[in-house]
């Protein structure tokens, strides 16, 4: 396949990206971005060194393949923070624009804190505080980036994707890489992080159809650092929207993560040091089960449906109510082929934006499409099939021949096993014959024992073979049934591969949502004020009062979120467990004695009943 054919194929299935209102950054050309950047290197225990100054950097510089040792981190720097006057001017301009064009302004939906409990809110406050200690992108960088990006677009407006075509195991994979100059999820949309540069990706998987041409079969898209089956949708899945044969992808505001459905997604992050506590909480929740859900609730429960006390929630807005890019939309794509990969892709392993020494790495810029931050090759680049869990799936055209081979192999294995069983059974029967012959001869006791032992071993082997034979037969039947379905053109459920998919949050009545939002934003303050009052009032049993305060706040919360039943169940169980522990501590001797007496009575009753019968 030559470059023109590859470009034509990429063009045929290029995705449509739908953004959320308020988005500031769109996929752009890397040349214009790099032209605004400087190239730097950080060698451990040495000051940062500038290699190429801002304004002079080109893609050719990146492709030079510098090497200052394995510890050296190369990175670009896109933005200098604004000074106070520039910042004030930007805010004013933005405010006026928002007032003029209300329809284009982003509005926060249900506050993320309204979706979770107090422990998550407290953790969220701690997480916010860690941003003061961790390395992070300066607060006004997003504003400066937005201004620079707007200037870049004014000079030359373009919306670019970088495409490659990979042919592997019967699949033709179209990879669309999108480069965004900035990720302002934290500062713009109350998300987890901000960083310079952002690479995102959509894959379309094609396979040969009956006429010999290529037809689309699957689509997968990048969403944060996830990988596996849940990232892909089959082409005929109703969840995958298409416009004139182009897949529709909804882009998360600020984060640029991709989704198949428009909506607001609850993304939860778990702090590493909280992981053991999360496991304990999960164990406890299995014991203190909240009221069982109705039978209609599907197994595909969104993660947020589970009570996560120790994870921090973030809402990802992928509403699709903003700009749309792609074929037939207000802005079209400018494709660039990176197949074979140019030097700036293949030889530059550094970061594409600012390196801020973030311990969690969320605020450091990402590397290019081919590499991870640590310089290793991205799985999505090297193994696009395995990355989306498609490495175990055959292209449709190859299923029938593969099934025939498999059925043949299965039948052969069955026959081989059956032959083995016949041979082994004959041997075992002859062994039994010999055993019964020497049984009455006491002077052959040693031989008899040896034969008995051998018979036991052979009998066990035979039993195992028999089990294997029945399993082999069942497998053969299953394969034949599948072959029949394939012949009839049945593809099976398009969602059979999905485990725990990420789905938008279900809508709540507006009144409930408003009250819950309002309460979630003031509840922690209420708790802290209550604590202050208890401290100042020198209340006796202050710990008890504190618990009472928390329980009361929880009751209000549960009422607002219509989760009173679950809350009261958990509360009652907690109180019952505390009470039981107190009782066991106080009456442990009596409890042991009672258990012993009960066991004795039961055993006596059981034995007497046996005697009587």
């Amino acid at each position: 396949m030559n470059a023109a054919e590859k470009l034509a194929l990429l063009h045929r299935y290029e995705p449509i990206l739908r953004f959320t209102r308020g988005e500031s950054f769109y996929p752009c050309a890397v040349e214009t971005y790099v032209a605004e950047c400087g190239l730097y290197v950080q060698v451990p225990r040495r000051p940062v060194e500038r290699l190429v100054t801002e304004g002079k950097l080109t893609l050719a510089h990146l492709g030079e393949g510098r090497d200052r040792g394995p510890q050296a981190i190369y990175f670009l720097k896109f933005i200098d923070p604004l000074n106070l006057a520039e910042m004030a001017r930007y805010r004013l301009q933005r405010g006026i624009e928002d007032l003029r064009e209300r329809a284009r302004r982003f509005s926060v939906g249900r506050a993320r804190l309204a979706r979770v409990g107090y422990s998550s809110r407290i953790l969220d406050a701690i997480y916010s505080l860690t941003l003061l200690l961790r390395g992070r992108v300066p607060g006004d960088t997003a504003a400066a980036a937005a201004l620079t990006y707007a200037r870049m677009q004014r000079t030359q407006e373009c919306y670019t994707y970088y495409g490659r075509v990979v042919q592997e195991a019967g699949w033709t994979i179209l990879q669309y890489w999108f480069f965004y100059p900035y990720n302002n999820w934290r500062s713009g949309f109350h998300g987890v992080n901000d960083h310079e540069a952002d690479w995102e990706m959509v894959n379309v998987y094609l396979a040969a159809d009956r006429s010999g041409g290529l037809a689309p079969r699957w689509v997968s898209c990048a969403s944060h650092d996830f990988s596996g089956d849940d990232l892909r949708r089959r082409w005929d899945d109703a969840e995958l929207e298409k416009v004139d044969g182009h897949p529709l992808i909804y882009v998360g505001a600020g984060s640029h993560a991709s989704y198949f459905m428009a909506g607001e997604y609850l993304t939860e992050i778990e702090l590493p040091f909280m992981a053991p506590l999360v496991r304990v909480q999960e164990l406890l929740q299995r014991f203190i089960a909240p009221p069982s859900p109705g039978p209609t609730e599907s197994a595909e429960a969104e993660p947020s449906a589970v009570l996560n006390l120790l994870r921090i929630p973030f809402v990802e807005y992928a509403r699709g109510d903003g700009a749309a890019l792609g074929p037939g939309q207000e802005k079209a794509w400018q494709p660039v082929l990176i197949d074979p990969p140019p030097a700036w892709v293949e030889r530059y392993r550094g970061l594409w934006g600012l390196f801020v020494h973030d311990l969690v790495a969320g605020e450091d810029a990402p590397s290019g499409p081919m590499y991870n931050r640590d310089g290793s090759v991205r799985r999505a680049w090297a193994d696009p099939l395995g990355w989306a869990g498609l490495d175990k799936v055959l292209p449709p055209g190859r299923v029938a021949p593969a099934l025939r081979d498999e059925i043949r192999a299965s039948a052969e294995a069955y026959r081989r096993m059956a032959r083995q069983i016949v041979t082994k059974r004959r041997a075992l029967q002859r062994l039994g014959l010999r055993l019964s012959a020497i049984e009455p001869r006491s002077f052959l006791s040693k031989e008899r024992e040896a034969l008995r032992k051998e018979a036991r071993v052979r009998s066990r082997e035979l039993a195992q073979l028999q089990t294997g034979l029945t399993r082999q037969r069942d497998t053969g039947e299953a394969l034949r049934a599948l072959a029949l379905r394939v012949r009839q053109g049945e593809l099976g459920s398009p969602r059979a591969h999905l485990g725990r998919t990420h789905r938008p949050m279900p809508p709540l009545p507006r009144s409930v949502s408003l009250l819950a939002d309002a309460w979630s934003s003031i509840s922690i303050s209420f708790m802290l004020l209550g604590l202050a009052v208890l401290i100042l009032a020198h209340a006796s049993f202050w710990a008890l009062w504190l618990v009472a305060l928390v329980v009361a706040l929880g009751l209000v919360e549960a009422g607002l979120r219509r989760q009173f039943r679950g809350y009261i169940g958990t509360l009652a169980m907690g109180l019952a467990i505390v009470t039981t522990l107190i009782l066991l501590g106080r009456f442990y001797a009596q409890v042991i004695a009672a258990v012993a007496i009960a066991a004795a009575v039961y055993l006596m009753w059981d034995n007497i009943r046996e005697l009587a019968s």
Binding site: S292, A572, L575, T579
Partner: protein, 159 residues
């Protein structure tokens, strides 16, 4: 065939109460009876003391009033427990929430009494047992009929 015979030949459709539901109901019933008994005792003794018929009469009037009010509260709680017990045995949908709420209040009161050095172990034992039984999956399912289909004797027999 006469109409009456037709009716009697139809299989009777009766909801089966799981054993744990019966146990939970009985425990709450015992709690109700205990509370009512304690309440009546409090009211009677305080009343007799106020009438000068009892050694409790040595107590000052505010203390006696407190005993009286305590008795009334106990009777009230006992009536709530009675209502919950009947609701539980008759599978009333709201009885689970009401039962758990009432047990929570009772357990908080008994824990506070314990911390203040006046433990009431019988209340604690019964309260904890009632909560554990109410929390059992089959009890929860039985008391939330909208969410879980009920098992009927006729169906079991047909099977």
């Amino acid at each position: 065939m006469p109409e009456a015979n037709k009716r009697s030949s139809r299989p009777t459709s009766r909801v089966v109460n799981p054993r744990s539901l019966k146990v939970a109901g009985l425990i709450i019933l015992v709690q109700a009876l205990l509370k009512v008994a304690v309440g009546i005792y409090n009211i009677v003794t305080s009343g007799r003391a106020l009438g000068g018929l009892d050694p409790l009469g040595g107590l000052p009037i505010p203390a006696l009033t407190r005993v009286f009010v305590l008795g009334a509260i106990n009777i009230l709680i006992g009536l709530v427990f009675f209502w919950v017990a009947v609701g539980t045995l008759r599978r009333r949908p709201r009885s689970w929430v009401l039962g758990m709420s009432a047990q929570s209040v009772a357990l908080v009161v008994s824990l506070v009494s314990y911390l203040r050095g006046r433990p009431d172990y019988s209340t604690m034992v019964l309260g904890a047992a009632a909560v554990f039984y109410l929390n059992l999956r089959e009890v929860r399912q039985a008391l939330m009929p909208a969410e879980v289909p009920t098992l009927e004797i006729a169906e079991v027999e047909a099977a």
